[in-house]
Symmetry: C2
Subunit: 422 residues, 2 copies
């Protein structure tokens, strides 16, 4: 049995927490498993280092920022190894570079290209517990230290699990798993014991903060089972894995696995776009050239006039970039005006069950209508239906959907924290 | 022109200090030099990390401690590079490992075996300022991260200067250079403009804290000129270099270059050692086996009895180890008792001039006698005379020697801080 465990910054915020995590790791080792641990920086270390960088330079170079920030995980990895050694178990810490995490050269947002875990394998053969500093690697070309983007320790863990042929990867955090909805909004939300990679991908993309999109993509591609669970309890969490849906297996397949929501997007409407070939493409080119990823799109043909209105959603943080780009392209494209709205929210129902069941969207939209909620935009995938609603309607929409698809808990399982949404 | 500059922790204690040091480095670069900088951890970072380690484990593994502590220099190196970039100069930071500092595997006290500065050379060819994290390297055998022992950033700087064929190495700290005595004791002490490697070695060994012994040894072996100077002023400091003494050159060679003192040693007297062959050797073997380095030794033949008394000095911190070892060997060796005294101090006069001048010891001892100071022990080298006196007599002995050898300043050069002694 070989296991990769990942602990987040809140699990190692101080010396006492580090000792607690060390005990947890040792317990797994004592049950006979080979254990590789990926660790984040302690608590607010990364933010503190970033503050220090900004005191020294308003725009620190990404290469140097990576050199600075990776010190955080290096420190927590060493401290955790010490704490494990203190429990009379052998542990060895490795930087991302030492662990063989080879990445692209994009400082601050590098991608893992390859893992060459020779030193980890040697340490495991020696019977040691291996501690790897998360969030970091080394550039294949420049040999400089890189970071994978914030929160990417999860991805490091899954990538290591794949490279090491681990049986599974455990992601420990301060939440109990993935829930059918944010329990802060839906008191009857329940923990999802198992969820498929595809569903988890949609959950992550549609606002669930529990696992990063890239981490889930990696897990799906490499078929690594991921167990999302709390470092504060021994209860099982949520298994993200390859779930085969057996037709006619007698198992009741739920229509919907969960309801996700996202308040972080904004909406832009470009009014009076000339009704000529390529005008819409010019609008989106202008936005794309500014480096903004757009999410949902709706185009309305005006009946009265020879023009259209184009509405799209985008990350709220990209507002200025997108508006600047559009204003700059206004004369060329020839549209009339731009409307901006950040008082919106996106609510999504997700489930592989909808593949074989028509009528899911009807149920969803009827539930919203009966609650008096106006739908502004709609988008769908094979296993997801998303709507944009007013920001004030998000909570009510999540509750309405959760109830309409029969997800409300009967037993009232104790819920510690939300798995979805912000 | 190629220069290695080393800045200590007090020079980079906060963001403002880092910016000031960055400006200083940029000034050197702007004068056309290739610049390699070795940097220590910020202010108290190393102590803080050590505290953290002790909270996690009372006896942290040396390997993990090295992993932890080296994060300090990594952070200051990255921050310094950012600050230089912010002044519109190109700078790249490197860890000790990246800089090619290859060491033995003795964690916490590794020695530099080799420097393979390929990446530094490339960066210099690109016109970049190179920032190297001091105090650290990588083990030749295990590839683990090592530290060179505290304060060894000086050694890193000198070793890099040698490997890179630098014209000289500048060691910046908060003192103005090496002084003829500790100015806190001798107000008339003056800065020594030039000092030979041999003299600096003796000064360092006899209590001057300004440069580490190993650093001076390295500089002498590789013949690297070292300029010890203040990071808070642009005044010249002290050049440590190969000084050829020209016989009959007309230059007045001072008898004594400086007076060093050291209050950190203690004295042990083993009374009633049997007067047989090998008894003294057994005493010192017992102490050596406990890992204690002894400094000065005096053996007195008792006239009345068939035994001797052996007195030696040792680092005060090794007291317990030494006394335990001696008590354990007492029956075997057969001595009578052990006396311990830590209220002592060592005062040394140092200078290559004494090679060709007899009578230096007479002058030294007379000056002490006239001040009413009792000499407890004496030891000499070719260019040094050291005496052990009572702790309360140290200041007076330093002053008496300084005056007796004509070192007292006439002009009264402004003195910022002591270069010698604690």
């Amino acid at each position: 049995m070989r296991v990769v465990q990942k602990f987040g910054g809140s699990s190692v915020a101080d010396a006492a927490s580090i000792k607690r995590v060390a005990q947890r790791i040792v317990d797994t080792k004592a049950r006979g498993a080979e254990v590789v641990v990926v660790i984040s920086a302690m608590g607010d270390t990364t933010d503190e280092l970033m503050d220090l960088a900004l005191q020294v330079s308003p725009q620190p170079r990404p290469r140097e920022l990576d050199m600075l920030l990776t010190a955080g995980e290096r420190m927590s990895a060493a401290l955790l190894a010490m704490a494990i050694n203190d429990l009379a178990f052998e542990a060895r810490s490795f930087t991302g570079s030492q662990a063989g995490v080879i990445t692209t050269g994009t400082h601050g947002d590098a991608r893992i290209i390859d893992i060459t875990p020779g030193r980890i394998e040697t340490a495991l053969e020696d019977g040691d517990i291996v501690i790897v500093a998360g969030f970091q690697g080394v550039s294949q070309t420049s040999k400089d230290i890189t970071t994978l983007g914030r929160g990417a320790s999860d991805t490091t863990a899954v990538a290591l699990a794949a490279a090491l042929g681990a049986d599974y990867c455990e992601i420990y955090s301060d939440v109990d798993g993935v829930f059918t909805a944010d329990p802060r909004i839906v008191p009857g939300a329940t923990r999802i014991p198992e969820i498929s990679y595809e569903e988890m991908l949609e959950m992550a993309a549609q606002g669930a903060k529990i696992l990063h999109l890239r981490c889930v993509e990696y897990a799906r591609r490499e078929n690594v089972p991921v167990h999302v669970r709390s470092s504060f309890s021994t209860k099982p969490g949520t298994w993200v894995k390859d779930i085969e849906v057996k037709e006619g297996s007698g198992m009741e397949q739920p229509l919907i696995t969960g309801v996700a929501h996202d308040r972080s997007e904004s909406k832009i409407t470009v009014v009076g776009v000339p009704d000529r070939v390529g005008a819409a493409a010019e609008v989106f080119s202008a936005v794309a050239d500014a480096g903004v990823n757009i999410d949902m799109i709706v185009q309305n043909q005006s009946i009265a006039n020879d023009n259209t209105a184009i509405t799209f959603t985008l990350p709220g943080g990209d507002k200025v970039k997108a508006l600047d780009a559009l204003h700059g392209a206004r004369e060329r494209i020839g549209f009339a005006e731009i409307l901006y709205d950040d008082a919106i929210g996106k609510v999504s129902v997700i489930g592989v069950g909808m593949r074989s069941h028509p009528g899911v969207s009807a149920t969803f939209f009827r539930a919203l209508a009966e609650t008096g909620i106006n739908i502004q935009m709609i988008s769908t995938s094979e296993i997801r239906i998303s709507v944009v609603v007013g920001a004030d309607d998000v909570d009510a929409a999540v509750r309405a959907a959760h109830t309409a698809f029969g997800l409300d808990s009967v037993s009232g399982e104790a819920v510690v924290y939300a798995g979805t949404g912000r």
